[in-house]
């Protein structure tokens, strides 16, 4: 009887083990003689077989057992891992993936008999000779069931992590509130105790956050396998080279990002790389760029035919023929993200219906990022995704603008100027400080508020993508540490709001995106 109580734990372990298996098999494909890899794959299959047996999934047990025999035979040098064996092993991952999805939905395993037979037939062949007819001698590096150091791991659901995080946020906000009160009314001993507590809570929160952060490498590892499969289906050859620069990201953002990358990789293989290309290569790079993360998907394929994109846009009535002639390069590039536009010549299993890139644009926008494309004929295409790094705790300048509590991150504030006397800035377009010119910006229109003649007390000098700007303020301003929270749906269409955070007094504050206001 399958124990449903442990199903979730089994499934999460099965998923991560399957991902690890894909990594190991891809590594084995490059180095089929590595005893170390063979050992590790054996261990993994053995462990997955044991877990399936505990859960009572008999068909899964038989399939893993037959797969284990292949690896065992390879270890004992009675079977050579050649291209055919590799294809069968890697191909089986898709079947095991289907199995996991079915178990998740129905608690029942799929029929794995055919897969088991394929594994058994491989072992029956007992192929111990390579293409040249010579017996392969595999150097034994370790015993297959020797002990490798293992790290104890536990699986915790995101829901449970969220509950703890919310409690920590509450604790943190209460501590900030206490600190603010003690600063005003308490004595130095109380303040020093409070500062110590504040430090502990901050450290606790930061350590906790690390639990949610997943290395990109862990998620990206399944992509070479995906590219291999898409290329195989398209009858092409393509290799994926990953450079993650040891970056890590919040799991919830990574889950969204991976969907975007899958779409871009499908496009790169299906439309970028051509069938007669022997050196098909896709580079996936993630790197930090100031406060942003850049993720670049670049292929060395045939490039995008921009004239064709414009023709499609006219055909689908996205733009008129007359307007098409007047488009700037940037506008032409933007067309590729319109629904109905495809960079491919034909519709294939992977892509070509002109839906994918518009979805990519929407998903990137949901993450408050941007996507750009660059392409040179016969040299290749690159898509660059720029995402803001989610800062969970950040220092900000908090100010009131009539009844609204707003904030800008301190990282973009160059200087706060306290005016010697109040000014109305009625006739000014620029603010000058230390001979530097700053363009004056106002929030009235952005906040859909009727403009009124305000007397400004402060000016925030800010660094933006478009250059230096000055934001005059008439209300009270404070520097505070804010706790970032999930943005509610009702604000998602407001691109001038970067996020919602909680202030020291426990009230929500809207964090303004100055770049989008300009």
């Amino acid at each position: 009887m399958i124990n449903n109580k442990y199903k979730d734990l089994y499934l999460s372990t099965y998923k991560s083990q399957l991902k690890k298996m894909a990594d190991l098999l891809l590594a084995l494909e490059k180095n089929t003689k590595s005893q170390n890899l063979i050992e590790n794959i054996f261990r993994l299959i053995h462990s997955m077989k044991g877990a399936a047996a505990t859960m009572g999934y008999k068909k899964t047990v038989h399939a893993f057992h037959a797969m284990e025999n292949i690896i065992d035979s390879a270890y004992n040098q009675s079977l050579i891992i050649d291209e055919e064996v590799m294809d069968i092993l890697i191909g089986s991952l898709e079947k095991f993936k289907q199995n996991i999805q079915t178990i998740q939905k129905t608690s029942k395993e799929i029929n794995l008999q055919q897969q088991t037979t394929i594994f058994k037939n491989i072992v029956k062949k007992k192929n111990t000779k390579n293409k040249d007819g010579k017996k392969v001698i595999v150097k034994r590096e370790k015993h297959i069931l020797g002990s490798l150091p293992t790290v104890a791991e536990i699986s915790v659901s995101i829901h449970k992590l969220n509950v703890i995080q919310y409690l920590l946020d509450d604790l943190m906000i209460s501590t900030m509130e206490n600190k603010s009160v003690i600063k005003k009314h308490g004595n130095s001993k109380m303040l020093s105790n409070c500062m110590r507590m504040d430090e502990v809570v901050n450290n606790l929160r930061r350590e906790f956050e690390k639990l949610r952060i997943v290395p990109l490498a862990q998620i990206f590892s399944s992509l070479p396998f995906l590219v291999r499969e898409i290329a195989k289906n398209e009858g092409k050859e393509a290799e994926l080279i990953i450079e993650d620069n040891d970056l890590a990201l919040d799991k919830s953002i990574l889950d969204e990002l991976i969907e975007i990358l899958i779409q871009l990789l499908k496009n790169a293989v299906a439309h970028g790389i051509s069938k007669d290309q022997k050196n098909g290569r896709i580079n996936l790079e993630a790197r930090l760029d100031g406060e942003m993360m850049k993720v670049i998907v670049q292929d060395n394929g045939q490039g995008i035919d921009w004239q064709k994109i414009m023709d499609q846009a006219v055909k689908h009535r996205i733009i008129s023929k007359a307007k098409a002639k007047k488009l700037t390069v940037k506008e032409v590039k933007g067309l590729i993200f319109s629904p109905g536009i495809s960079s491919g010549k034909s519709v294939s299993i992977s892509s070509g219906r002109g839906v994918g890139l518009s979805l990519v644009k929407d998903k990137v926008a949901e993450l408050k990022g941007s996507v750009e494309v660059d392409s040179v004929s016969k040299k290749g295409t690159s898509f660059t995704i720029t995402l803001p790094l989610p800062l969970s705790i950040f220092r900000s300048i908090v100010f009131s603008f009539k009844e609204h509590a707003l904030a800008v991150p301190l990282s973009i504030v160059e200087k706060i100027v306290k005016l010697e006397e109040v000014k109305d800035f009625k006739k000014s377009k620029f603010f000058v400080d230390n001979r530097k010119k700053y363009k004056l910006i106002y929030l009235f229109e952005t906040l859909a508020m009727p403009r009124f003649d305000a007397l400004y007390k402060y000016v925030l000098l800010l660094k933006t993508k478009e250059g230096r700007v000055a934001l005059p303020l008439f209300g009270k301003i404070t520097e505070q540490e804010l706790v970032n929270k999930k943005m509610p749906t009702i604000l998602k269409d407001k691109d001038y709001i970067k996020g919602v955070a909680v202030s020291e007094d426990g009230g929500p504050v809207l964090v303004i995106d100055i770049n989008n206001i300009i």
Partner: protein, 138 residues
């Protein structure tokens, strides 16, 4: 045939009793430090922070189209919809009840469904309908 029982949570606004389908996370909370939002539907009062989450506070009276003076301190009936939390402003929270039958008042334009408590009609505020009005979809 056994009729399926439905659970509701009751609340009061302007001395009138209303019901909302009982969800796993339904609860009454006190509602202060409301952050006013710029350029949003006038039925949205603002945002509050509670229990680690940002709650979108909704003006219940405006959905029901009744005259109501928003008190300085008020309570909210909390519920979740599509991974977000919302709070309906109420005067007072009530008990949870189970009923066997939901009726429809064809004379009403909106929130037509009601339940009977002691032969008295108690109209239901359906969360799906509220969200649909605000153009927020699951």
């Amino acid at each position: 045939m056994v009729k399926k029982q439905q659970k509701f949570i009751l609340f009061y606004i302007n001395d009138e009793k209303f019901a909302m389908p009982l969800l796993g996370d339904s609860q009454f909370i006190s509602c202060d430090k409301v952050a006013i939002l710029p350029d949003v539907d006038n039925r949205i009062t603002g945002l509050i922070y509670h229990g680690g989450n940002i709650i979108t506070v909704l003006n219940t009276a405006k959905f029901l189209d009744i005259k109501y003076n928003l008190p300085d301190e008020h309570n909210c009936l909390l519920f979740s919809f599509s991974k977000d939390f919302y709070g309906l402003i109420v005067d007072q929270g009530g008990e949870t009840i189970k009923v066997n039958q939901v009726f429809t008042d064809r004379n009403k334009k909106q929130f037509k469904k009601y339940i009977k408590i002691n032969k008295q009609k108690v109209y239901i505020l359906e969360t799906d309908k509220i969200m649909e009005d605000l153009k927020i979809y699951d």
